[in-house]
């Protein structure tokens, strides 16, 4: 919950960590319908790439930290940009190629706020959220180490890295 700098009304973020597949189109349609006064809605959908050697992807989280951390990230975004709504839905568990991993959507009166908030949320989800990822290739699971790019993306926002 954050105060909208312009309207003064409270804007609540919808932040969810889900264990089973979700329908990003239905989520986004619902979010859009809830924000008719938004001039712009930016969304990011991350999905398990099909056509790679990766047979499955697993994201593990740590209950006491992961969802609270996602809520803190949403509060940061709401405090930083003039948003009318923010949606973050993140999977955990085992996912197949083509399945959605994460959906972020930001609704704002002006499109720059919506773009910036969605971009910011993704950079921080990728590099700062409490998720650990492994992939199954040729029947064997292997843990994925963080990419240097993730830290470079985070540096764009002049914010601290993973704690």
């Amino acid at each position: 919950m954050a105060s909208n700098p312009k309207s003064g009304t409270a804007v609540a973020a919808d932040v969810r960590l889900v264990e089973t597949p979700f329908d990003p189109s239905a989520e986004l349609a619902h979010f859009t319908a809830a924000h008719p006064s938004a001039g712009g809605i930016v969304s990011f959908l991350g999905q398990v790439r099909a056509g790679d050697a990766v047979e499955a992807l697993e994201l593990k989280h740590y209950g006491p930290l992961t969802l609270p951390g996602m809520r803190g990230l949403a509060a940061s975004a709401l405090g930083r940009w003039d948003l009318l709504g923010l949606l973050i839905v993140h999977r955990s568990g085992i996912m197949n190629p083509g399945e959605p991993i994460v959906l972020v959507a930001a609704a704002a009166r002006h499109r720059r706020d919506a773009f910036a908030a969605a971009d910011f949320a993704m950079d921080h989800l990728k590099s700062e959220s409490w998720f650990w990822k492994r992939e199954r290739v040729g029947g064997a699971w292997r843990w994925i180490e963080p990419r240097p790019d993730d830290y470079a993306d985070l540096a764009r926002w002049d914010m601290p890295g993973p704690v």
Partner: protein, 82 residues
């Protein structure tokens, strides 16, 4: 008198399980706990980039961090994103 140990990410492989129960060490400190673990596990969780959460809160990894009966101690390697 025991602790719940949680191993995230690749530390799960090093520990052989995502969670273990360990007896509360004497003295009840982090360094004593590490000394009681199998050396390969102790080495894996002692890496400079592994963070520590005690009962769901990040705490500094100092040798004399006090532990209590029933504590949940999680070892968190670098995250690898969504």
């Amino acid at each position: 008198m025991s602790l719940k140990l949680v191993f995230l990410g690749r530390l799960e492989d090093a520990a052989g399980a995502p969670e273990l129960t360990a007896p509360l060490p004497q003295p009840a400190t982090l360094s004593a706990l590490l000394g009681s673990l199998p050396p390969t596990v102790a080495e894996a969780v002692s890496g400079g980039r592994v963070k520590l959460a005690l009962n769901g809160r990040i705490v500094p990894c100092s040798a004399d961090t006090p532990l209590s009966d029933g504590d949940e101690l999680a070892f968190l390697p670098p995250v690898s994103g969504g």
